[in-house]
Symmetry: none
Subunit: 259 residues, 2 copies
């Protein structure tokens, strides 16, 4: 599906940026790179900055015009730094990622178009785009590095793709026992813990049962919001057991020392 989304770089000056863009694409699972009239390509600088993504560079299609780069595309999204005189439908990067994925999933081809390092896309080129995409940078310093701009849009495409694929982005593969011990404790387990904790605090004379004040409610608030796992609860209960033993002088070693 992601192979339906191509990145189009128009008239790039610095081959290092082409390499950086290729790396950003491959990191995010994109592979289709089209270069419109690049000023210096192929180039060792591009390969160096691609850092392992030279397969994307090798497969890159080099064409003479934006028109050729967009052949077959039913959705064209063009990055734009500035507000233009002619208002155009404008997306932020997140909306761009969602739109690109929706189209690509239906089998359509999508182009993400990036302009020149210093001058961006011309008005004519921008008018070939169905939507403009603006990366919300600080107006006081708004021009992103080309590879950084590709990174942001490719990242949003991947986030939308992962959401659409319904693949959880964080899949820790755990053994059954690990899953069990990482499960949060139940309310009754938490109540037993609070009773044990209160007992220990009395034993170490931190809590005066005659003047309990807000102590237990504050500790309930802390542990209540922490989603304590079963494993962590075992540790906390173990600490309380040993604390009570220590307060009572019941440690075998301690007794030995005392004698």
């Amino acid at each position: 599906m992601l192979e339906n989304i191509r990145v189009v770089l128009v008239n790039t000056s610095h081959p290092g940026n082409i390499g950086g863009a290729a790396r950003a694409m491959k990191n995010m699972g994109l592979s289709q790179l089209v270069l419109v009239d690049p000023q210096d390509f192929p180039s060792a600088d591009a390969v160096a900055r691609a850092s392992g993504a030279s397969d994307v560079l090798d497969a890159a299609q080099v064409v003479g015009t934006l028109e050729e780069a967009l052949v077959g595309c039913s959705l064209v999204l063009g990055t734009s730094a500035r507000d233009r005189r002619i208002p155009w439908p404008l997306l932020d990067p997140r909306e761009c990622g969602v739109a690109a994925c929706e189209q690509a999933q239906q089998g359509a081809h999508v182009a993400l178009v990036f302009g020149r390092e210093y001058a961006g896309l011309t008005n004519e080129e921008l008018q070939r785009c169905h939507f403009h995409v603006h990366i919300p940078s600080d107006p006081a310093f708004s021009s992103l590095n080309l590879a950084a701009a590709v990174q942001v849009l490719a990242y949003e495409v991947r986030m939308a793709w992962l959401a659409a694929e319904n693949q959880p982005t964080k899949t820790p593969k755990l053994e059954a026992t690990a899953i069990q011990s990482s499960q949060p404790v139940t309310a009754d387990e938490l109540e037993s813990f609070y009773a044990h904790l209160e007992q220990a605090l009395v034993e170490i004379k931190f809590l005066d049962p005659a003047k309990p004040r807000h102590l237990m409610s504050r500790l309930r608030r802390l542990y209540g919001r922490s989603e304590v796992s079963k494993l962590e609860m075992n540790i906390l209960r173990g600490i309380l057991t040993e604390t009570i033993k220590a307060a009572r002088g019941e440690h075998s070693e301690r007794e030995k020392v005392d004698v």
Copy 2:
């Protein structure tokens, strides 16, 4: 508000990446850069890649250890490429941006920590982080360029910031002292707590210094994600102090009873 969020680069090899990171930060409205033991800085390569963001480089703080870089921070978010044996609370970049903004808006200081180009952060460094952040890259080609990773997280911080700016702030009005004591503790305060906790666990003989296993890292994970407030920390520290006294049989009342 964004000035409460610092970017920490640990032991960076290539000064060009420091420059690229500075540019990405400034594009997204971030200005606080901290460099932990950079291999080559200051550097002309950094200035070249910063491309107009050399003010961020000039103001960068260079320190010797991660600990120094995190002084004053109550939320530390560390980028991690790999699944770890001990699972840690994991955020995606979007969740990271929201969490960083929420904290920064309450006046707390936040660190986004990035590791070495080839080796990332060490396990010890990762354990100093309250949350790990994973940029959901293609598992077949997962390692982002350092400046590109900074770009993605800085972009998500900005998106969260813009969303928050457009919403009325929902901060209940609290008394000055209540606000202060409900503020989360800083990373250095948390480190002192862990040292105190470890000492207490040894005193009550729950922790054998010769065989520490994963105990402290599991407790770090629990308290690290709980956003412990200053008031709660006072309670926890008080409990530890009394626990140690009890273990040593130093309680005045206990002595009285013993006599």
